[in-house]
C-alpha cells in the first residue's frame, strides 16, 4: 500500500511530502519530496547587494534567524578580510546561543506534541517567550531581526540586557530539569523513542548529516570546536554525544546541549569586554545610528552604504557555524561588484532530511512521525 504523508500534515513541520510504501504497518520504502516552499533565495541574493542579502538569510531557518545572520556575516567577513572586535564577537555568541536554546525549545515542544506529550509544549514555550523578549529588547524584532551585520552588530545592547540574560541563565538549568522530569524517565516517552529509527555512524557520515543528529550517532563533530569562529575557543563547554543514534539519543543530546549553551552564555556575559562592537572598516560597516542622526558625513556614508553597498574584492569565501540544526554554511563567490556573484547556502536540514529513508525503512509508520520530529527540520531552509 502506498500512503502520501503531507504536504499538509501537522507532523511534517511544514510542507514536506513523503511517499511511504507500506507492508501492513511496516515501511518498505520512503521517498521524501521537497521544494514546496522554494522561493529561490540563492537567485534572489544575486540581484541584491551584500547588505540587502542579509534579510533573506533570516527567512531560511526562521526558528533561529540570528544564527543565519551570523553564518552569512562570517562568510562576508572572510571575503572582505574583516576582524570583529572581541565585544562584538562575545555579543554574537550570547545571541547565537540564546537563539539555539530558543530553537531547541521550539523543537522539544513540538516534537513532544507529535508523540503525544502535550504538557511539555506549554513549559518550553514559556522559556522560549522569555528569550524572544530578550531578542526583542535588543533587536526590536522577535522573529526576523537581521541584527548581526557585516563587520559586527547593528547596535550595542541596551542596559537592561545583562539583567535579563542573567536572570534567564540563573533560572534555566532548573527549567531543563523540569522538562526531564516530564520525559526522560517517562515510560511512554521511552517506548516511543528508545531504539526507534536509529542511524548508524557510517550512514550519518556518508549522508553529510550534521548537528545533534550526527552527534547522537556518536561522531564528535561540532563546528564550534572543530573550526572555532567568533571566539568560541575562549569558552569552556562540552560536546554531548550519543551512542545508539536513535530518537531518544537525539532528544538527550539536545537537552544536554541546551545546558552547555547556558554555560557558554554565562561565561560570555561574565567576561564581556568593553570597547567597540564593529570592525574599523568605514568602507564596509555602516556608522552607528546616533552618528547618523547628528553628523552629516555619517548620514551620507550610511545612505551610500545602504543604497550602493560596497564592492567586494574578487574571490571566494566559505563561512560556517554550528546552528541549532547542524552545520550552516554560506559560500560566496565575488566578481568584484557590489552583489554576490554566487550565493550558495549549505543548509543543514537539507542533508539531514536526505538521511530520513535510511532511518525509517523497516520501522512502523507511527515511528515515522517520531523520526521526522527528531531530525528537527525547517522547510524554509531545505527549500530555500
Amino acid at each position: 500500500m502506498t500512503i502520501n504523508m503531507g504536504p499538509q500534515h501537522p507532523a511534517t513541520h511544514g510542507v514536506l511530502r513523503i511517499e511511504l510504501e507500506l507492508d501492513g504497518e511496516i515501511v518498505v520504502r520512503a521517498t521524501p519530496f521537497i521544494g514546496y516552499l522554494h522561493r529561490g533565495v540563492e537567485k534572489l541574493a544575486e540581484i541584491k547587494t551584500y547588505h540587502q542579502a542579509l534579510t533573506l538569510t533570516d527567512r531560511l531557518d526562521y526558528t533561529s534567524a540570528l544564527s543565519n545572520n551570523l553564518a552569512y556575516c562570517l562568510a562576508c567577513e572572510n571575503l572582505l578580510g574583516l576582524e570583529v572586535p572581541k565585544r562584538g564577537q562575545y555579543l554574537r555568541v550570547i545571541l547565537a546561543e540564546l537563539q539555539r536554546i530558543a530553537a531547541h525549545l521550539l523543537w522539544l515542544g513540538t516534537h513532544a506534541l507529535d508523540i503525544g506529550a502535550m504538557t511539555v509544549f506549554f513549559y518550553t514555550f514559556r522559556e522560549r517567550e522569555y528569550i524572544t523578549d530578550i531578542i526583542e529588547s535588543v533587536t526590536g524584532a522577535r522573529l526576523t531581526p537581521s541584527f548581526i551585520r557585516i563587520g559586527g552588530l547593528a547596535r550595542d545592547v541596551p542596559d537592561e540586557f545583562e539583567g535579563m540574560v542573567r536572570s534567564f541563565v540563573k533560572d534555566f538549568p532548573r527549567r531543563v530539569d523540569e522538562y526531564e522530569t516530564l520525559l526522560t524517565k517517562n515510560i511512554i516517552w521511552r517506548r516511543r523513542t528508545v531504539k526507534v529509527s536509529p542511524l548508524t555512524r557510517e550512514d550519518a557520515l556518508s549522508y553529510g548529516v550534521t548537528g545533534p543528529v550526527l552527534r547522537a550517532s556518536g561522531v564528535n563533530y561540532d563546528v564550534r570546536k572543530a573550526f572555532p569562529y567568533s571566539s568560541y575557543e575562549d569558552f569552556d563547554f562540552e560536546i554531548p554525544l550519543g551512542t545508539g543514534g536513535d530518537v531518544f539519543d537525539r532528544y538527550d543530546v539536545r537537552l544536554r546541549e541546551m545546558r552547555q549553551s547556558n554555560r557558554i552564555i554565562d561565561q560570555a556575559l561574565s567576561r564581556l569586554p568593553g570597547g567597540p562592537i564593529n570592525a574599523r572598516a568605514p568602507g564596509y560597516v555602516a556608522p552607528p545610528k546616533e552618528d547618523v542622526q547628528k553628523d552629516m558625513a555619517a548620514l551620507i556614508r550610511h545612505f551610500k552604504l545602504m543604497e550602493e553597498s560596497f564592492s567586494a574584492p574578487r574571490g571566494e569565501a566559505y563561512g560556517a557555524i554550528e546552528s541549532s540544526k547542524g552545520e550552516l554554511g554560506f559560500y560566496l563567490v565575488s566578481d568584484g561588484s557590489n552583489k554576490p556573484f554566487r550565493f550558495r547556502i549549505r543548509p543543514p536540514s537539507f542533508l539531514n532530511i536526505g538521511a530520513l529513508p535510511k532511518m525509517i525503512v523497516g520501522s512502523m509508520i507511527a515511528d515515522v512521525i517520531a523520526a521526522i520530529g527528531s531530525i528537527d527540520i525547517v522547510l524554509g531552509e531545505i527549500d530555500r
Partner: protein, 171 residues
C-alpha cells in the same frame, strides 16, 4: 593574510598537486586556495582525499555549481569536503561546459545523491550513473534551470499577459 574564520586550507591542495601532477591546477580565489582538477581524474582525486589516512576528508559538506556564463567552459562544480578528524576543509573544483556530463559520486557519499539532483535541477548539469536524477526543488514539468545566469530572475514569460480560456469559450 590569515583570518581566523577561514577554514579552507591549502594542505590538501598541495597533496593533490603532487599526487595528480599535470591534472591539478591551483587557484588563489581571494583569501582562499582552491584546487581545480581535470574531469578525467575527478573521481580518483575525490577517492584519494576521502581514503588517504592523513587527509581523511570523509564528509562531503557541499556540492554546488557556479555558472560563469558566457565564459567557456561555463560551469564550475565545487566539491567542499570536510575532515572532522583532522579539522580541515578543502574546496575542489572541476570545470565543464554546457551539456558536458560528470561522473556521479553518490556511491562514495550518500549526500551526493540529493546535492547532484539539486545541481541538475538548478543548472542542468548531468551526472552519469546517478541512481535517480530527477528535479528536486522545482516542479517536474518546469522549463529551464533557474540558477543559470541567462535565466531571468523574475522568471520566464514575466510581464506577458496570461491567456485565460473560459470553459464556455472552449466549447
Amino acid at each position: 593574510m590569515t583570518l581566523a574564520g577561514i577554514t579552507i586550507s591549502d594542505k590538501a591542495v598541495k597533496r593533490l598537486e603532487s599526487q595528480f601532477a599535470g591534472f591539478v591546477t591551483v587557484e588563489q580565489a581571494g583569501n582562499q586556495t582552491n584546487a581545480i582538477v581535470d574531469k578525467a581524474k575527478l573521481r580518483d582525486a575525490l577517492l584519494f582525499l576521502k581514503t588517504e589516512k592523513d587527509l581523511a576528508y570523509t564528509m562531503l559538506t557541499d556540492l554546488f555549481v557556479v555558472d560563469y556564463h558566457p565564459r567557456d567552459p561555463r560551469f564550475e562544480v565545487v566539491y567542499l569536503l570536510t575532515s572532522w578528524e583532522m579539522k580541515d576543509r578543502v574546496a575542489m573544483k572541476v570545470r565543464i561546459g554546457d551539456g558536458e556530463r560528470l561522473p556521479t559520486v553518490s556511491d562514495l557519499w550518500g549526500a551526493a545523491d540529493w546535492l547532484e539532483r539539486e545541481a541538475y535541477d538548478m543548472f542542468g548539469v548531468r551526472f552519469d550513473n546517478h541512481p535517480d536524477l530527477r528535479r528536486i526543488l522545482m516542479v517536474e514539468d518546469f522549463d529551464g534551470h533557474p540558477l543559470r545566469k541567462d535565466f531571468p530572475t523574475e522568471g520566464l514569460g514575466f510581464g506577458k499577459p496570461i491567456k485565460i480560456e473560459l470553459e464556455e469559450e472552449q466549447r
